[in-house]
Symmetry: C2
């Protein structure tokens, strides 16, 4: 029991992805992690997926079997064991989730906006706005693939939560951009003085 | 120059707190960090503040002087040097901020909500809702202390951004709570079957 308690959260996260009723290969698990965990926990590398699967298999929390993919290769497919499901339920029930950890490099730099010229602040916020749109598009595609599928009721809740987070961030960025009155006039002055039609 | 580039982001963050025109003691810097960095970067311990100040002083990015507090004790007060301000501006201009890092243990557990009974999901979300209210109250008090002070224009932007983040999280949690229709009936069924007045 104390051995199980020492598993890092990411091990439980990956074990959890095997509880949706499907036997998955390491490659498929990586895809599932990229569609779920990436947005609010971690984006595990392929090598980390295999490290975690080996650890989970050693503790008999996952079971594996070789599935023939033709004469030339086989694929190892993983499923959660009864012991693994029990251990996951125990962890979910007993562990204190704690408060989310946020390391927000844009907010940190905005705090020091008095050291930047307004154009630098604006460029930073506009780049973040664009990055948010990319993330939102990716997560929207994930939700479109699972919405209305009862097996993925909870992943769909989390995906909708994530979309609302990106929307809130986008709104916040744009409110700050609007509240930087000294930036736009400076830019339009610069561009109008360089305007060849004037 | 390459020595400066190896500073961790938290060093720049603490150096940045010394650019608002005030000479601060380590204790005051800790209070400033708790009013700013804590909400979106890190909550540095008092010992880490002193570690960072020593490192910054060694590189002459901060200057310090002893201020007498009476015959029995003196306080060391720190201010940013011209070199420190230059180095901070260089870092702000040159470093790629990257995308925020979010480790959200509530979202992770909600993903696995099919393994929990509805009452457990509800209890977890309600506890997070309460924790968000506490954080929001703390940050609101910070904003009330700096709002309309031109020296803290950018910290006020960041604080308002943080409040909108907590509001968005609270809305998202409550939407999920409302979308858990099996929870409330199951609880009322249980309580009504145990209801001695029936």
């Amino acid at each position: 029991m104390s051995q199980e308690q020492s598993l890092p959260t990411t091990s439980y996260a990956i074990l959890g992805l095997l509880t949706f009723g499907q036997e998955l290969s390491g490659y498929e698990l990586k895809q599932w992690a990229d569609s779920t965990l990436r947005f609010y926990w971690t984006a595990p590398a392929m090598s980390q997926i295999y490290t975690e699967l080996n650890r989970l298999a050693q503790r008999r929390l996952v079971l594996s079997r070789e599935v023939g993919g033709g004469p030339s290769r086989t694929t190892t497919r993983y499923r959660v064991s009864a012991k693994g499901a029990r251990e996951l339920r125990r962890w979910l029930a007993d562990s204190d989730p704690g408060f989310p950890l946020l390391k927000h490099p844009i907010a940190l730099r905005l705090l020091l906006g008095h050291l930047l010229d307004p154009g630098q602040v604006r460029a930073m916020l506009e780049a973040y706005d664009a990055a948010l749109a990319d993330q939102r598009r990716d997560l929207r595609a994930v939700l479109d693939g699972i919405d209305n599928n009862p097996a993925f009721e909870f992943p769909a809740h989390v995906a909708r939560w994530g979309l609302s987070y990106y929307d809130s961030e986008t709104d916040a960025v744009r409110r700050v951009l609007k509240a930087l009155p000294e930036t736009a006039p400076a830019q339009s002055k610069r561009s109008s003085s360089a305007d060849p039609t004037r």
